[in-house]
Amino acid sequence: MKRIITIATICAFLGYILLAIYPYVPVYFQKSYTGRVIRKVKKTLAYGPLFDRENALISKSASYRFYQNGKWQQSQLLLEPLFSDYTATGNFAALKHCRLDTRLVVRINHINKHRGIIKMLKSKEYGEFTDHLFYRHNRNIKPDSLEVFYYIKDYESNNMIMSLNFKCKP
């Protein structure tokens, strides 16, 4: 039994080495079934370079407004109030909520960028985003129309540039 545990431990070490070299293996291997399994294991173990993506350094901002009761309402910032709540009061739930909203809006922006607005509006990610937005940011009321603005920061000019803007009837 002791021998089995030792061999399992050695296998774990070998597994770590395999995971460590994974980011540097050819792309076709990463896209293969084995590659995808390894990526999933890496994510589950939180094993891999952190804070190394330049994309993660892009500041993002999102706002939205609803058309309901016969008029467009004032535009609301999506992330700012949540993050401010966390920095002012240490409300961890607000920080988690801010992360969730960021992830949801980043995903629809990503789909829009790569597959176009029509496919984005039909995607399940868009459904998740609007469902969450109406439930948590509009007291579970479905508005007549919705407009979303998503900005990313350009570090050279230091300005926020609009990356996504759409109006739709949900």
């Binding site: 039994m1 545990i5 589950t44 190394d52 350094l57 992330l79 920095t87 409300n91 961890f92 739930a93």
Partner: protein
């Protein structure tokens, strides 16, 4: 079996057997890991309905223990489930050597991960991994017993995981120009909804300091996994690492990540231990 391979396995086996891991390390490590889970669970409770509503859309409930929470039967009672889950974590905090409780806490930790899926980060995954490994870790082991071998192997795996994570991170950073020239920190301190503007002092924006900080982080991540195994460097490295992760927690609004990493340092700390008989130690 190949002779040299056999010799290698025997060497590793003897190394695992010979490790003395004081109970204090294990107890503090277990308590910290479970306490952090409890804190996270209690803190997200105000938004539990939102997270649950979102999670049931993307996670199918099943009879698998970690997916039980998402079964339709719990759709009305998730608050009670969370209350019971919190009580189990508190119970596990107070109990010792209860493998069933360790498994239950691991299931609860998975519930948390699934619930806060899109709001989770690497810290949650690492924390979940630590809680999984705690299933195999127990106190009051008899020397050279099978129980102790399993215990030692689990703790060595956590330590090696942690050290390799640093090496992988150091290499992942040093190959990027934006880390080497310090521009990573220049942009990081301005990152909206991430860098905490209330806590970051103005002098953090100094370009020279950005380069120094970037290289200090890279060097620390290269040095820690090598020198932490040698006693004279332990205290300094543990202190530096704790400051480093506390900094991440506060300045980068990643309290869950910073604390999960800090917990692992407990395993590297040399608690004093004494043999209480020929066969056990505490």
């Amino acid at each position: 079996m190949n002779k040299s391979l056999y010799k290698f396995i025997i060497t590793i086996e003897r190394y695992i057997e010979s490790q003395v891991i004081p109970d204090k390390n294990i107890i503090w490590f277990r308590c910290s890991a479970y306490l952090l889970l409890l804190i996270k669970m209690l803190f997200i409770w105000p938004e539990l309905s939102m997270f649950y509503r979102h999670a049931v859309q993307i996670n199918l409930g099943s009879l698998m223990p970690h997916r039980l929470l998402f079964l339709p039967i719990f759709h009305e009672y998730y608050n009670i489930y969370w209350l019971i889950a919190s009580a189990i974590v508190i119970w596990a905090l107070l109990c010792r050597n209860n493998i069933l409780l360790s498994i239950a806490v691991f299931i609860i930790s998975n519930n948390y991960i699934l619930l806060a899926d899109k709001a989770s980060n690497g810290g949650d995954a690492l924390h979940n991994f630590l809680i999984f490994m705690l299933i195999f870790v127990q106190e009051n082991n008899v020397k050279f017993s099978l129980r102790q071998i399993i215990n030692n192997a689990a703790i060595i795996i956590i330590k090696v995981h942690f050290c390799l994570l640093y090496i992988v991170n150091a290499y992942g950073k040093v190959i990027h120009l934006f880390w080497r020239d310090g521009s990573y920190f220049k942009n990081l301190w301005h990152l909206m909804y991430y860098a905490n503007p209330n806590l970051i002092p103005h002098w953090f924006f100094n370009p020279i300091l950005n380069v120094v900080t970037a290289w200090a982080v890279i060097l620390f991540e290269f040095i820690f996994p090598v020198l932490i195994w040698f006693k004279p460097y332990k205290k300094t490295l543990i202190f530096t690492g704790l400051v480093f992760h506390l900094g991440i927690s506060l300045f980068l609004s990643l309290p869950d990540f910073g604390l999960a990493m800090a917990i692992v340092y407990i395993l590297f700390f040399d608690f004093k231990y004494r043999y209480i008989s020929n066969s056990t130690y505490e």
